[in-house]
């Protein structure tokens, strides 16, 4: 198919195809084809170009049988793993959405109530008559009728990126409650597009079609035409601070003129403080605002909710190792503290897992049909079992002879133990909440396999199953962690539960009971504790005050004793939970299938570091190219090295500040030096006074060409601003 738009830049047609494509702003490399050989070829020559890569090595044609089998397997499972990733990822997505919606529900309800009240207030100003309403200009009204009800939604988050989803949810929520909703961002309030930009955005969202003319009377007539025009129009401005003040002022002034005809209620996302509108808008605009304040949950609260739902509770089956969890926490704390970046990191971890772990597709199957796993398992393909037998955690534990049945048993055991762990963590966190312990911090501790091993050996529990570390190392670990454990979160939590007042303890037991509903053993213990405190069948019989009164009338010391005893019991219960159930995923056989562990891969994919890496590329290029000529050089610059590398190294030696002429001279010295073992003197000025050996002029000019080319190449990654400040000294 000819592309009319692509033809707009017909550069020299007579040049070869490749050169032409290189000079096109854009071109179609190829189109999707079911048969791989089919390539597009049209008359204009703007098609697939030759590829400069050298042909694959001839070895590729005669692959060994093993290699072929591996490729076939890889291809077969590639698709399965991709599907599994999609299933797991969409599950995580939907869970996060639900969790965040739950976190915001109360604020959303509050906002909705306020919107209704504001709408009633606008209606009470004055209802326009038919003729007034259908005119294409606003109704003349007094100042009180020109108030724009404005909800300032404090996001408590300097990064607006986390709030995009919140405002999207808020929009959906208000729409489901009968409001017309339009969502505008700071991009709509840019100085370049002016008032027309935001108005067009508003019209497009309300009228559901693109309108060329930016005229608010169109909106007025649309509102009039609506069957249910008895509903407010809510305009959500996501990020107030980033809007252009003058455009926003014009917008608000315009809305205030029309508010009787179009009952617009504005919601503004405020990242900083309530002063934000005052800083942005002039006073004549501010007097038209009738503000109210709403506050969203803090990022840490949301974070806890997400971590609980995704990483602690059994949601998708996917989990992360201790090191990955620590990395994720550090990334959240050090990077930008946004939930969005955390979720993205988690998704990349998930994608890495599914792209690296051959058996990860099993997770997808489990999600689709939980029940089938028992039935299907007997027929597990041979290669899965072979692979499984090579898993480190399997090999370590030397489980019974591997067949379909034992594999399924091992896998269901993995899931069971993980569920136990999750219940124990949730119980611990319930106490941790009283001490403001963040779940993410706690998670890092409860996922630590070394701590588990140390705990187990402390308690003289035989490390009957997977330990990950040989027994000889256990004592060392115990020593290492015995002190740090004391200050650890688990320790704090156990200590905290001893100090809890009776009322809080009662509530805690209630929550524990809810958490452990599916675990008879834990549930029973919680019930026992409850009965000690006077609960029966989940109902708390005597009043707390009654007890304390009764106790106090009897003997205050005795009551204290009772509550102390119960606290001790609760602490003992927690101890028991930690001892019995807090087994990190990494200490369970077959965990490799569900648990992502490669923190280095995650870091590389998540945080590109071009600034450092490109400079390292230049300085240590021989490590990447693995050439025989430069690898042995040490710190000596050799003429065989890349010109750009030589130049960059020289510039570095000069402390990033180099006289161009000196640079050239040093460069020339290196480049023209015969490949002998002359020692490079890095401390001495590389500018040679007079070289004894004369070079031919051809060599000289070549060196200067190399310099210019090297310099030009260096400017691609490094300019502007060029860190190697070139000092051009004029006479």
């Amino acid at each position: 198919m000819a592309l009319p738009s692509a033809a707009a830049d017909p550069l020299n047609q007579s040049t070869p195809e490749t050169t032409e494509n290189n000079l096109q702003p854009f071109f179609v490399l190829h189109k999707a084809s079911s048969s791989k050989s089919e390539k597009i070829s049209n008359g204009t020559g703007r098609t697939r170009r030759r590829i400069d890569l050298p042909p694959a090595s001839p070895k590729k044609t005669d692959k060994s049988e093993d290699e072929k089998t591996r490729e076939r397997d890889e291809h077969r499972y590639h698709h399965l793993r991709k599907e599994a990733f999609e299933l797991v990822c969409s599950k995580i997505d939907s869970i996060i959405k639900d969790v965040l919606r739950d976190v915001n529900t109360s604020v959303f309800n509050e906002i909705n109530r306020w919107v209704c009240e504001s709408f009633n207030a606008i209606k009470s100003f004055r209802t326009p008559g038919f003729t007034e309403a259908t005119r294409s200009f606003p109704i003349v009204a007094d100042a009180t009728c020109k108030k724009v009800f404005t909800g300032l939604v404090l996001t408590r988050n300097m990064e607006f990126v986390d709030d995009l989803l919140t405002f999207e949810d808020l929009g959906l929520f208000l729409r489901s409650h009968g409001c017309h909703v339009a969502k505008l961002s700071s991009l709509d309030f840019s100085a370049k597009n002016g008032i027309g930009g935001c108005l067009r955005g508003l019209l497009r969202q309300c009228l559901m079609e693109t309108v060329d003319a930016a005229d608010i009377s169109i909106l007025a007539s649309w509102y009039r035409e609506q069957e249910n025009h008895n509903t407010p129009v809510v305009v959500i401005i996501e990020d107030l601070e980033r809007c252009c003040g003058s455009v926003l002022s014009d917008f608000i002034l315009m809305l205030s003129e029309w508010v009787v005809k179009i009952p617009v209620i504005v919601l503004m996302g405020v990242a900083t403080t309530l002063d934000a509108p005052r800083n942005l808008l002039p006073s004549n605009v501010l007097q038209h605002l009738c503000p109210s304040k709403f506050t969203l949950g803090s990022p840490a609260e949301r974070m806890d909710a997400v971590v609980e739902a995704v990483l602690v509770k059994e949601c998708s089956g996917f989990s992360v190792s201790h090191k990955v969890a620590v990395f994720l926490r550090n990334y959240f704390v050090n990077q930008d503290g946004t939930l969005t970046s955390f979720i993205r990191a988690l998704k990349i971890a998930c994608a890495q897992h599914f792209s690296m772990e051959p058996l990860s597709f099993i997770l997808g199957g489990l999600l689709v049909e939980e029940k089938q796993k028992g039935e299907k398992s007997g027929l597990l393909p041979e290669e899965i079992l072979t692979y499984t037998s090579q898993l480190p955690s399997y090999a370590r534990n030397q489980m019974a002879e591997l067949n379909g049945k034992s594999f399924v048993h091992g896998f269901s055991e993995l899931k069971r133990l993980h569920k136990c762990w999750s219940t124990a963590v949730l119980c611990l966190h319930e106490v941790g909440k009283c001490n403001k312990i963040r779940l993410l911090d706690l998670l890092c501790e409860v996922l630590d396999p070394d701590l588990y091993i140390a705990r187990a050996s402390n308690n003289h529990v035989a490390l009957e199953k997977d330990s990950g570390v040989p027994m000889a190392g256990v004592h060392g670990i115990r020593r290492k962690y015995s002190t740090s454990q004391k200050g650890g979160f688990i320790c704090q939590i156990v200590r905290k539960v001893r100090d809890l007042p009776t009322v809080t303890l009662k509530q805690l037991l209630k929550n524990w009971k809810k958490i452990s509903l599916n675990f008879l053993e834990i549930n029973e213990k919680v019930k026992d504790l409850q009965s000690m405190l006077g609960f029966e069948d989940g109902q708390f019989k005597p009043n707390v005050d009654d007890i304390s009164k009764r106790h106090s009338s009897w003997n205050p010391l005795n009551s204290e004793k009772v509550s102390k005893a119960i606290s001790e019991k609760a602490a003992a219960f927690l101890d028991w939970l930690v001892r019995e159930y807090l087994r990190p995923i990494e200490c369970i056989p077959l965990h490799e299938i569900v648990c992502f562990k490669n923190v280095e891969k995650l870091q590389l994919a998540l945080i590109g570091d071009p600034r450092r890496r490109i400079q390292v590329d230049l300085l240590e290029f021989h490590k990447i190219l693995k050439c025989s000529c430069c690898s042995q050089s040490g710190n000596v610059l050799l003429p065989s090295m890349h010109d750009t590398s030589i130049m960059y190294t020289l510039a570095q030696e000069h402390g990033d500040l180099i006289n161009l002429h000196d640079w050239f001279q040093s460069f020339k010295t290196v480049v023209l030096r015969p490949c002998t073992k002359r020692k490079h003197k890095s401390k001495q000025s590389p500018l040679p006074k007079k070289r004894k050996d004369m070079h031919e002029s051809a060599d000289k000019s070549e060196a200067s060409i190399q310099l210019v080319l090297g310099l030009s190449t260096l400017t691609i990654p490094l300019s502007p601003p060029c860190p190697t400040s070139v000092l051009l000294e004029d006479p």
């Binding site: 991709k82 693109t210 890496r613 490109i614 590329d617 190219l625 890349h642």
Partner: protein, 305 residues
């Protein structure tokens, strides 16, 4: 904890390095100020014409050709991983020293045959992004037609050509399909290049990247390229998966459009440089220059006195 220590050590190293850079800078400044200035001048270097230089440069034998070729070949083993990430909805961002043009196009030609691929040469000076989006929509339209993925009702809706539709409409079309395996790949060489470097174009590229039917494979060369994007673009639109793939291949094509330092450039380059200097002035100073220029233009015969 161990990992914490590791991170801290790394951070310390980083700080040390940063400190090293700045220390070197001030040391060099001090030395420069101490009167020990070099007597050499720029004029000591013979400057040649850019065209001549480029012609002569083509005769110079490139270094490490064999190793570069081997390095490029070694990346082929990563292709399946890259395509997996694309299918998972991530964008690929390639960085590292050396031209990545051949590598990415080889990847696209050999591995992305199931998808249409559109290439944007970001190293060029000007690129019309609206044309790109229109072409992209046309390519997707073709793909949908041949694959018959979209319902017939959905397809018949498109009546007017994409070129006459608004940007939002075309983007909405690109964002339309729910089929996760039906997408068009956009290869962007030098997404940080001069033709794409402005904020507006980057916003537009981010919007394109966020469309459900588009996947981006891009390369960056500048060390500060990530500064082009804000959090929204990085986390929710581009959704980059970074890959460090130094190639050490010469920037043959990309370098063609970079002004050559130390060569006698053309007048357009001088004008551009002047414009950059002008932009850095205060608004007042700019208006003084404007008045001067207007005066000069309206009185062409007068000698500037």
């Amino acid at each position: 904890m161990e990992i914490n220590n590791g991170v801290e050590e790394e951070e310390e190293e980083e700080e040390e390095e940063e400190f090293g850079f700045s220390r070197n800078y001030f040391l060099a400044k001090e030395l420069g100020g101490s009167g020990k200035k070099s007597t050499r001048k720029l004029s000591d270097i013979d400057l040649v014409d850019e065209q001549e230089l480029r012609a002569a440069a083509s005769n110079i034998e490139p270094k490490h050709e064999k190793e570069v070729a081997a390095l490029l070949n070694s990346y082929k083993s990563l292709y399946p991983k890259w395509v997996f990430k694309l299918r998972c909805g991530f964008g690929l961002l390639m960085y590292g020293f050396g031209s990545k043009k051949a590598l990415i196009e080889d990847f696209a030609s050999t591995t992305l045959t199931d998808y249409s691929v559109l290439v944007i040469n970001g190293y060029l000076q000007s690129i019309n992004i609206k044309q790109v989006v229109t072409s992209l929509a046309e390519v997707l339209w073709d793909q949908l037609k041949t694959k018959k993925v979209a319902t017939s009702g959905n397809l018949s809706k498109v009546q007017q050509p994409f070129s006459s539709r608004s940007m939002d409409d075309v983007l909405a079309f690109l964002n339309g399909s729910q089929d996760k395996d039906c997408f068009v790949c956009v290869v962007i060489h030098n997404i940080d290049g001069p033709g794409l470097r402005d904020a507006e174009t980057q916003q537009c590229l981010a919007q394109i990247a966020a469309c459900s039917c588009v996947r981006i494979v891009a390369s960056i060369d500048h060390v500060n390229a990530p500064l082009l994007w804000d959090k929204k673009m990085v986390h929710t639109q581009f959704n980059w998966c970074w890959y460090h793939v130094p190639t050490f291949a010469p920037y043959k094509v990309e370098g063609m459009f970079f002004p050559m330092i130390l060569a006698h450039g053309s007048t357009t380059q001088t004008a551009k440089t002047a414009a950059i200097v002008l932009q850095s002035l205060t608004p007042n100073a700019q208006s003084v220059f404007r008045v001067l220029a207007e005066h000069q233009l309206s009185h062409p015969d007068e000698e500037g006195k």
